[in-house]
Amino acid sequence: MNMKYKRMMKLKKSAALALSALFVASSLLTGCGSTQSAKGNSGESGGDTIKVGVLHSMSGTMAISEVSVKDAELMAIDEINAKGGVLGKKIEPVVEDGASDPAVFAEKAKKLLQQDKVATVFGCWTSASRKAVLPVFESLKGLLWYPVQYEGMEASPNICYTGAAPNQQIVPAVEWLLKNKGKKIFLIGSDYVFPRTANKIIKAELQAEGGELVGEEYTPMGHTDYSTIINKIKEAKPDVVFNTLNGDSNVAFFKQLKDSGISSKDLTTCSVSVAEEEVRGIGADNMAGHLVSWNYYQTTNTPENVEFVKNYKAKYGADRVTDDPIEAGYNAVYLWAAAVEKAGSTDVEKVREAMKGLTFKAPEGTVKIEGENQHLWKPVRIGEVQPDGSIKEIWSTSEAIRPDPFLKTYSWAEGLSN
């Protein structure tokens, strides 16, 4: 009895040891990225630094995309600091991990605004995470810079959207495809808010412009087998597959499409969530010849971009690539800094007033903040993936397009925004 008891205790002890070792290890590992900065005064103008929040997923399924956006934002902050900072003060980033979980995003946003009292926050990627932090920013009167293209139908006074609105990416891409590639469109997307809303817009546009919808498929996030959907595509014989898949699923889709004997010569696909960073993961030879639609590519030919790409590679490694959301995150920091300089204060109300009509010579070309809805004027570019993984621009608008998140200027889009 006694011996048995002792043995049990020993077992329990060692199990507890193993468990606690595990937790220590895991908290060490996941905790690394969470709070990199603790020193410094409050973000308000009183101290000698200005605190800003950087809120992206450093872990979980979205880390693949968001880590590089965080890197670009930190690079912009470093660059501005090297030139003397804003209002004569250094910018001090407080980096938080949203962990690919909207609830964590909301919690960390609250922490940044209330505890760290940051002047502004750069962050989020998925629409789900943006929708989760939106009420936090509105109720606490914060200001979020959101760097990713999205489905539109939103214009919060507490968010500045530096990625594309639908009329700067999806709508012109569909228009171009209908004109140049054919009328029969097959829609495929991940099953969440962005693809569903984007496809609602596309379907209205197809109806108005004489396109034909031959199929519409959604797969859960993280779906990895596309053989059945590829079979459905074969049967529907579309001219174009319009792809709003997000994350890892793109890899599986393009690899399996190629294996089933369909190349970009047999079928045009156009993706809106696949940029240079994702092409690396998919494998350039699996995607060569397929189309994408964005506002910026690493190959975009402006002096600002040559400089930007050079600096990014120098800082993070020659094998890294820049892409649209990375550039949009970088722009956001510069736009905020310019607005603060113009306002002479980090006060959110004053900054919002100052940023109306503000321009910035971005790597993608000159962008301007539209005062009415806090989105950017941006040029639209359709590109073709090259065998080396870069993206070659094959069509672009000659100048920046006015952002229209609610598609008010399109008669066919009536009734979509509610």
């Binding site: 199990a15 895991s26 087998d225 059945t228 079979n231 599986a252 190629k258």
Partner: protein, 302 residues
């Protein structure tokens, strides 16, 4: 007609992937009763091992050797995942035999640690494995295209099942494994080193997960969260098939793979999964022990 034939082939292919991913679990969960939430991470380790071997070949060996890297990648994935499994068994699992709830929690923690480890070592973005040239393209038959990669995976699955069958049912080592799993006290009293059997069996199951990872690298992407996509499906395969039988794993993988693709074809991917899940739950209400249940005279069976 072509569409339906291809659809049946797709079903077979998806089934084979489920079987391969679940085979390791059929041993660690089915035989050893360890609810290993980190099973998916061993799949991930196998996939990264493939990536490493590919890099070794493309960097240090002549270009025309590249086609053969996969022959080395499969055993390397098995070994690396097996070694990691052995370490996990030694450090955590052996303290938790017979304590299902604790082992769920601990192995789930391990899975997070392993994911973060992969992220630190290989970086957060997904990496790409280039399939050997001999596996690219497909077999053209009657106007239909059967991708070589999927045919290869089906062959690999058959080979793995034959291997596991021979090991478990035709070798003296397999007899010892089955003896320990069925009646530990009796096996120990007959002089079997149960401690060693436990460790090797767990490592072997983990190694099989590594082979699944090598195969999956042909079809999809390799990232730190690769395994999380498979963990639910693999448990479902083992539970549906019946815990502790190889035949059950084959049947479970076949039914879930075929069910997924068929319902996906008839409805859509999200709804297809819902239907399969619902049917499996209903089936388990009717036969809680799965398709094939193992009969045993051990007293601790519930």
């Amino acid at each position: 007609m072509d569409t339906y034939v291809l659809q049946i082939f797709n079903g077979l292919s998806v089934s084979s992937i489920f079987m391969l991913a679940a085979l390791g679990l059929a041993i660690t969960f089915g035989l050893m009763k360890v609810i290993n939430m980190a099973h998916g991470e061993f799949i991930m380790i196998g996939a990264y091992a493939t990536y490493l071997i590919q890099n070794l070949f493309s960097k240090y060996l002549p270009a025309d050797w590249f086609d053969f890297y996969f022959i080395f990648a499969v055993p390397a994935a098995f070994l690396l995942a097996g070694i990691m499994g052995y370490i996990l068994e030694y450090m955590v699992i052996r303290h938790l035999y017979g304590r299902a709830l604790d082992s769920i929690l601990a192995t789930w923690g391990v899975s997070l640690v392993l994911q973060q480890l992969a992220r630190s070592v290989f970086g957060a973005p997904n990496v790409d494995v280039r399939a050997p040239n001999i596996l690219s393209g497909g077999l053209l038959f009657a106007g239909m295209n059967f991708p070589y990669k999927r045919l290869f995976i089906i062959a690999l699955v058959i080979a793995c099942f034959v291997g596991v069958y021979v090991l478990l049912y035709k070798s003296s080592y397999g007899r010892k494994i089955r003896a320990v799993m069925q009646n530990r006290a009796m096996a120990a009293s007959l002089g079997i080193n149960t401690r060693r059997i436990d460790a090797y069996t767990f490592a072997f199951g983990s190694g099989l997960a590594g082979i699944a990872g090598a195969a999956l690298s042909l079809l999809g992407s390799i990232g730190p969260t690769l395994g999380t996509n498979y963990i639910v499906d693999t448990f479902m395969v083992v539970v549906l098939g019946g815990v502790g039988t190889l035949l059950g794993t084959i049947a479970g993988g076949f039914i879930i793979g075929m069910g997924n693709t068929t319902f996906e074809f008839l409805t859509d991917a999200s709804l297809g999964r819902v239907i399969v899940f619902t049917l499996v739950i209903l089936f388990l209400q009717w036969r809680p022990r799965g398709l094939f249940s193992m009969k045993s005279r051990a007293l601790d069976e519930d």
